[in-house]
């Protein structure tokens, strides 16, 4: 299959995660991912979109951009938020904040598992500050 990109933007509300999750599940299944891997991809998408909405969006109107890239070897998802400036920070994603989330995570934590899940389940997981003051999260799943 030639490389193809699918791009869309959703409002920054969690209501839209469920239809996006269903879409990526159907797509991954069509591409030939195993049932287990489809569930992993759906979970990672849910977690990174949820973080982009809760931590990377000032309000519902700013939206979250998604780019899904597929080719013969992989499914790649890029989620881009616009940031939610707090206490003078340009983005919620600072190395200090990431370390804090990682250190505070425990089995009994009620929150803060999303990045850990994405890191654990994706073949590649990258997080970078972007040019609009938010965070880009890129995950890749190999076929």
């Amino acid at each position: 299959m030639a490389k193809s990109d699918i791009k869309f933007k959703i409002p920054s509300t969690v209501f839209y995660i469920e239809p996006i999750r269903a879409f990526i599940g159907n797509l991954a299944q069509s591409l030939g991912f195993s049932r287990k891997r489809v569930a992993d991809i759906q979970l990672v998408l849910d977690e990174i979109c949820s973080n982009a909405i809760h931590h990377g969006s000032v309000d519902a109107t700013v939206g979250v951009k998604l780019q899904i890239r597929i080719d013969t070897h992989s499914l790649e998802i890029l989620v881009r938020d616009t940031g939610s400036p707090q206490a003078g920070e340009k983005s919620w994603l600072t190395q200090e904040r990431l370390s804090e989330i990682e250190e505070n995570r425990s089995p009994s934590s009620e929150r803060g598992h999303g990045i850990f899940i994405a890191k654990s389940l994706a073949d590649t997981h990258e997080m970078h500050p972007n040019s609009v003051g938010g965070t880009d999260v890129r995950v890749v799943f190999g076929l």
Binding site: D46, E110, G114
Partner: protein, 114 residues
Amino acid sequence: MDSTKLMKLREESGIKILEIKTDLSSYAASDLRKVLEDLLAEKVERVVVNLSEVSHINSTAVGALVGVAKRLRQNGGDLKICALADNLTRTFNLIGASSVVEIYESENSALAAF
């Protein structure tokens, strides 16, 4: 949409049983938290959450279950979970939540464990 309509509560031998009939992504997870917090407010002590009709759960929903289980235990009660699909079990294991919340194969075994 209000996903709480897909969360059915019933009672058996003084134990509240919450049957979830929707996947638990972020939207439904916040409704799950509300339903569980209502139970805490009603001073319910023993809860079984039946996930047999759930094919997806995210960390927000797992966190809500863990949080309510911890608070119920502080008052001598507990929250137990039952009937997880394999991928849900994997999510609980990955997060480590299966070491915090008791998980049972069936609703009957969860009820019997109280």
